[in-house]
Amino acid sequence: MSDNQDFSVVGKSLPRSDARIKAVGAAQYADDIFLPGMLYGKLLRSPVAHARIKSIDTSAAEALPGVKCVITGADIPKIKYGNWRLVPESQDEYALAIDKVRFIGDEVAAVAALDKDTAEEAVRLIKVEYEELPGAFSVDEALAENAPVIHDEYQQQTPNISLDRKISYGDLDRAFAEADLILDDVFTVHATSHAYMEPCSCVAEYDHDGRLTIWTSTQAPYFVQCLLALTLEMRENDIRVIKPYVGGGFGGKMEMRPWEFCAAFIARKLGRPVKFTLTREEELATGRRRHPMKIHSKVAFRKDGMILGKEFIVHLDGGAYNSMGPTACFLCGNFGAMLYNYPNYRYYGAHVYTNKPPAGAMRGFGAPQALFVAETQMNMAAEKLGLDPIDIRLMNAMETGDEIPGVATISSCGFKESLLKVAEMTDWRERRKNLKPGQGIGIGCYSFISGGVFNWFNTRYNFTRAEVRAFDDGTVHLMTMASDIGQGCDTVLRQILAEELGLKISDIRLTAADTAVTPQADLGTWGSRVTLMAGNAVRKAAQEIKEQLYKMVSLKFDLNVIHDMRCKDGKIFPANRPDRNISFGEAVRMAQRANRGEPIIGYGSYTPRNKGLVTPAFSFGAQVAECEVDRETGAIEVKYMTTAHDCGTPINPMAVEGQLEGSVHMGLGYALCEQFIMKEGKTLNTTFLDYKLACAEDMPPGVSVHIDTYEPDGPFGAKEAGEGLVSPTAPAIADAVYHATGYRCMDLPITPLKLLKGMKKI
């Protein structure tokens, strides 16, 4: 189904509005900002995984010429922060360590100096005396008896479990009793890096009027504003957060971070601007990452392939702090029961502290892990029951109108169509019969959210808001706090607005992501929320403008009250009498005159209502991977990827395609080559030499098809695109590798060594 009107701007592959400035290298990122008198900051990080701080001596650092400021935990307000404001005890971080350090890289002190080299030298001169404590470096170690307690300052029911979640519906015991096949497996999945191109960076300035301004590489300016206010003991309105161009985030930049705090704190203290920019080594050694998990999954099937129920027990290896772990813990439980109808389901998820760099939000937010397991087990079940993996999926697949008990209703779903499409495109059934030794073909599927409903940040505002100002020269100005971090929402929101108002994209000016001027508030770019949520707000704001302008057309042509109105091609007219039109600019001029000069402004907000606790809309899709394995070296080459996906209306198909290619890249790295090599909490591969991102040459060719659906809750029928698609790639590749070698991966990533061991070659 598609919208009954034919679109002029939406659905077109228009070039991104930031394409030119980025192509010519003129886009300013935070690190490109230089203010007069600016100092350079550097953080001292803990070299030990778990210790009490006995003393810190900063005198030598302070004495170094060029050093202007050294701060430690003793200098800052003793206030813990975290994104989960709804659960205050989950806020477990100090900007600088106060009593203890809990991972290698924990921020201990900060220096600001005249230049970078001096700041680095000063950091080396700070002497910290640690009393080392035993560490816990895995879920099993952290939950063992007598495990060191990582956050001992508050009582936890089970030491080192910061938070857990249970979901239960149906009669699972009966499902297992009646099952013909029970799969009962333990999987482990690993941590990977966001590897955004732009390392974190910020510049803070404190002016003579007592206002703090910070330009920071963030996905969520509003979070940074609120949490800086909390930790600096300032009023939110005295803090202005501006998002410059941002070079990617993938979930890694959606919290207030210590360098933002330190830049702000020192800028306020000294009255001089301060910049902090992380190195790639800091990012890889200490940065947020995707949650490693241990997943115990038990699924009951009837012999015809029907799923009877599932028990899903997940332990998230959260690292030293909660970060966004609680969300991943919640969502894992939802993703464990997505895609197929699980009539009986039980979930237990626990977020476990370990002495490692904290895991946080990362593209997929629990879905890549949960779906790697779920999809692998679907493939295992198909084989055990003698069914085709696509048939068993079709039998259980969710469809439009299905309900997940107590969670959500699926209001649009192109899953079955996606399955049938990839089967057709790959000639699935024939290909599977004609594989040569070392060749494999496999499938993985996904579903994902279009933004979250659960208000863990406890915002006091609408989830997102837009303001549109219309001008009599036929242009409009869109103001939104929605944050383009490279995913393209500046373009997509313009397209939505242009479509709604019948204008061209070039008629739209945009000011975004500046907390002092764009409307309060927007929760940021994460969870694939922006297109649907900010898009809906933009549409509503546009509709307010249109109402004001329609009146002018009615007046001018003395129209009957029953006329439907349209905005198209820069004109406004009754739907059935396009000849009776006035131009958009003329209508604005008339409306403004009629209102004695009042400007024409429209506001729109969006907060999901009546959509359960998870999300307003789910995307779906299926992906087939074809691989070739060198069965002597274990080298895996992905030869081709075929994808069919349902993102509702693609507002900008070219942008969607970019997301798809990016997610194949990330999914392929997750499956095959990306991993942190850790020893006792220390990350050993801290450069891109040894942290193996797939290179351009490793990218397989592929094809993707949009399945046509229309999401009633999305702007022009749109929903999530590109985040969910990071999930199916690993299970699809793992399944292809299985068919090529007989090795079934239960422990990502699939390295040559594991593969050769699985094949009993080592």
Binding site: D117, E632, D690, K692, E697, T751, P752, L753
Partner: protein, 292 residues
């Protein structure tokens, strides 16, 4: 990251360059393409007072061949030039394959084969083939010129037999005997563009009866310096390059390798890869030899 402070020297002839090397001994570093050196400088792994580029010295990038003397590759010949040089493709195509296997085209347009050798990384892509082909390095200093066999050139990771006042000016590769074939094989964690987890260069010369007359196998990334697989070489001498013999040679090569486990690969994986890759290299090299 920013570079530390140093004085930049750009001599325009070899004598001047060697005089500077001697004068600033211990405080000077040499740069060709800089793809290793600049990274080391920005990581503060080296902190020289002087950085001397060789790029202003004319004539160092030549690639030449003569039937007696064999191949000469000048110190400034780029990886990319070696990869596409008609002379190399005709007379030593495996050197082009090894150059091609190094990094990406952007790096290959900056970096040199000599830099790859003098950097003396155990995993360097261009070393095993050159060792197998019995290449040597022409070293130049105020004291004169000498040739150092690659077999004796590597002392440890990042350490070579060059004296502090010596520059490497050329790579010499002898003209191969008739019925000789060469192969280069590599595995790495990521499928295409990556540092080798193990790499193997092999040379096989066959006698009139089709048996192996001479075999040289060089193994990279399985020891502090490139290692020769001497047991395998000796085993094959005088024997036909049959599948069974090559399999045995592979096992012997693995026995000669002394890899460590590190972030790039485990010891057990490297051992197995030496076995697999030397077998493949020997099979390919003897196949080429039979055809030559």
């Amino acid at each position: 990251m920013t570079l530390p402070q140093f004085k930049f020297l750009a001599p325009t002839n070899l004598d001047e360059a060697c005089a500077l090397l001697k004068k600033h001994q211990g405080k000077i570093k040499v740069k060709a393409g800089g793809t290793d050196m600049i990274v080391r400088l920005s990581h503060r792994a080296v902190k020289p007072d002087y950085l001397m580029t060789l790029k202003k010295i004319p004539g160092l990038n030549e690639i030449s061949w003569d039937d007696q003397g064999g191949l000469v590759i000048g110190a400034l010949a780029l990886l990319r030039e070696v990869e596409v040089s008609p002379i190399i493709l005709e007379h030593a195509p495996m050197l082009a394959r090894a150059a091609h296997a190094t990094a990406t085209v952007q790096i290959r347009n900056m970096g040199t084969v000599m830099g790859n050798i003098c950097n003396a990384s155990p995993s360097a892509d261009n070393i095993p083939t050159l060792v197998a082909m019995e290449a040597s390095i022409v070293a130049f200093s105020e004291r004169g010129q000498r040739e150092i066999s690659l077999d004796d050139f590597f002392l440890g990771p990042g350490r070579t037999a060059l004296a502090a006042d010596e520059l490497a000016i050329a790579i010499k590769v002898p003209a191969p005997a008739p019925k000789t074939g060469v192969s280069y094989q590599k595995v790495s964690q990521r499928s295409k563009v990556d540092i080798a987890a193990v790499n193997i260069g092999a040379l096989v010369t066959l006698d009139g009866a089709g048996n192996c007359a001479r075999v040289r196998i060089s193994m990279g990334a399985v020891g502090p310096t490139p290692l020769r697989a001497r047991q395998a070489e000796e085993f094959l001498a005088g024997k036909p390059a049959s599948a069974a013999n090559l399999a045995e040679a592979g096992r012997l090569a693995a026995a000669d390798a002394s890899p460590i486990s590190d972030v790039r690969a485990s010891k057990e994986y490297r051992k197995l890869m030496v076995e697999v890759l030397s077998q493949r290299a020997l099979a390919e090299a003897s196949g080429f030899a039979a055809g030559n």
